[in-house]
Subunit: 353 residues, 2 copies
């Protein structure tokens, strides 16, 4: 009898496919072909044609089929604004797209016969930034997106942490002021009522309404009509040196930093990434954020403070992350197929797709 | 040439050793022999003899050697009140034990020639409760220990999540009231200033100081000397039906619930476990906690709310969790040894011990 040498694992070069990522926003759909280093091979942009989910599906299918004529696409990842269920197949509720219970994954898979994953756009964006952007080299990353509200996500060891119901990362609705400003979520004093684009606008408009002489630059910008004043205008005014606009953005930064200090106490992350429209203010926002974080951080002086850094991938982060999720899913699917082939039965990790 | 059949993994019964867990508290050291189901085979209790780390070490060595005469002990896990470094070898700072930079693991290993792990007692307690107590069946568990302050820990898939510096879970120092009560950590408005044993005592004492007629039961309990009034007395009075004591505990519960709602928004846990001395109040505390959590939870009505449950293992949770950490470490160490034996070189996971 011949005794076989003990089996050794040999290193096979990793299967390294191209995947497509799609980011469905309220106004535009951004899609790209992405490789495993997060490099964008090609990008396409289309308007979000109304709120009809069928039209959005048509657009996605059309984009993917266009890419498939040029590239060998292994899977598609879709990030959508809204709540996505834990199995990542259904957009349960999307306020911006006016969707409810849309089984996006199954419908796209049926039309394209290619694996599809669906996730919340905050998660796809966070994954893109963590793995290929500002989070490179950090194990435990908190991503905070300052838009009209606060979008958040947690990326641990290169994977999005989703929690029990797929709803982790809703940092914006942690209460920071008891009985504070009313929030559309129904509560009062939510963090995003103090640190967000909406908060910046509200505060700026109050100064215009009060006809504050301090706010003459802001009043000029909106022709004394507070409803015309927007967050980006305040940011532009601050960057041009208007002192009250600088102060308004610093105020958002201070609220942001206080909340970040709390999240750092709870999560002890390796890095905190700040993205979204409000972060266009750059250091006008981030310097007060860091000051406030350090001032409110437990154990300060005895601990390393995590870097608080701006997102670097811009609007592409969403589809880059979605493409990366699709790549993981395609790999799992392939492993499952291979196991089934060899042993003749099904081990079933495919339902993770 | 004979072709060997493809190697298959065969299921070997898992190595299933007994381990010892040690919980070093400010007043007592609790140690036990624990099996892999979390069952306590034997338990011993000793006083914490002063703050001299050498005396504590003597006690631990003595306890372990006692156990070793009867049982085959594979490893020792130690939970200590204080900050433990990320490699889990050194107690960096322990206010209760008055230790600084004590390399507890190395010193114990040197004296006992058996693998030793050291961790923060909040982590060991949380692990014990999550794996063998109130958290059984739940993947993502938040543990909140209400003592003088708030101790916290995060257990994901049966493992303690420690974060970048081993400092995750400091929930008690998230700010919940801007410019609120001063906290010994140096900040203001920390959660543990509102939801803790200290908070309960402070509020009860204020009523005694104010000679509130509402507080006649409390005034009797302490002989009109507010400094003599303790949290457990308030709890006992509440359980005996004193309305103001019931209200004081409900107040702590409401603050607890508001903060839990924020943590649920951020983590989306499968369960929240409430332990510690204040939780002896049972439903007098937990019913208002749940009410307040639901009222402040984002997406309520659209999401499953996690159960908020009392800890069930009591003071044994700490050493049961420490023993479980030791078991994982012993298994890793054994795997590393076996790999080294077979291939003749060292793969070095032992430094995780």
């Amino acid at each position: 009898m011949t005794v076989a040498a003990p089996a050794r694992r040999t290193r096979v070069p990793r299967w390294d496919p191209l995947t497509v990522g799609v980011d469905i926003g309220g106004t535009k759909i951004l899609a790209g072909v992405v490789d495993s280093h997060g490099s964008v091979v090609e990008v396409q942009r289309r308007p979000t044609t109304g709120h009809d989910v069928a039209l959005v599906e048509d657009t996605i299918v059309d984009l993917v089929q266009g890419f498939q004529q040029q590239y060998d696409v292994a899977a598609v990842g879709v990030g959508a604004a809204g709540f996505v269920d834990a199995s990542r197949s259904t957009v349960m509720f999307s306020p911006h797209l006016a969707w409810r219970d849309e089984p996006l994954r199954d419908r796209l898979t049926a039309r394209m016969s290619i694996p599809v994953v669906v996730d919340n756009d905050a998660n796809t964006t966070a994954l893109g930034e963590s793995r290929f952007g500002a989070g490179v080299g950090h194990r435990f990353v908190l991503c905070i997106t300052l838009g009209t509200g606060i979008g958040g996500a947690i990326v641990l060891d290169g994977r999005v942490y989703r929690g029990a119901n797929g709803m982790a990362g809703e940092f914006g609705h942690m209460q920071v002021v008891p009985d504070g400003h009313r929030c559309p979520c129904g509560n009062r004093g939510c963090w995003e009522q103090y640190a967000s684009g909406n908060a910046l606008e509200r505060e700026a408009r109050e100064l215009v309404v009060a006809r504050s002489p301090m706010a003459h630059a802001l009043r000029e910008l909106c022709g004394d009509d507070p409803d015309q004043l927007s967050g980006p205008q305040v940011t532009a005014a601050a960057q041009a040196g208007d002192p009250i606009s600088v102060e308004l953005i610093a105020d958002v930064g201070r609220w942001l930093g206080t909340g970040v200090a709390g999240l750092v106490a709870a999560f002890d992350p390796s890095a905190v990434i700040i993205g979204g429209g409000v972060s266009d203010a750059g250091e006008l926002l981030l310097a007060p954020t860091r000051d406030s974080m350090v001032r409110h951080l437990v154990g300060r002086g005895y601990r390393a403070e995590p870097p608080v850094v701006p997102a670097v991938l811009g609007p592409q982060a969403g589809f880059i992350g979605a493409a990366d999720m699709a790549r993981s899913a395609a790999r799992r699917s392939r492993r499952a197929d291979r196991r089934r082939d060899r042993r003749g039965r099904w081990f079933g990790v495919r339902d993770e797709l």
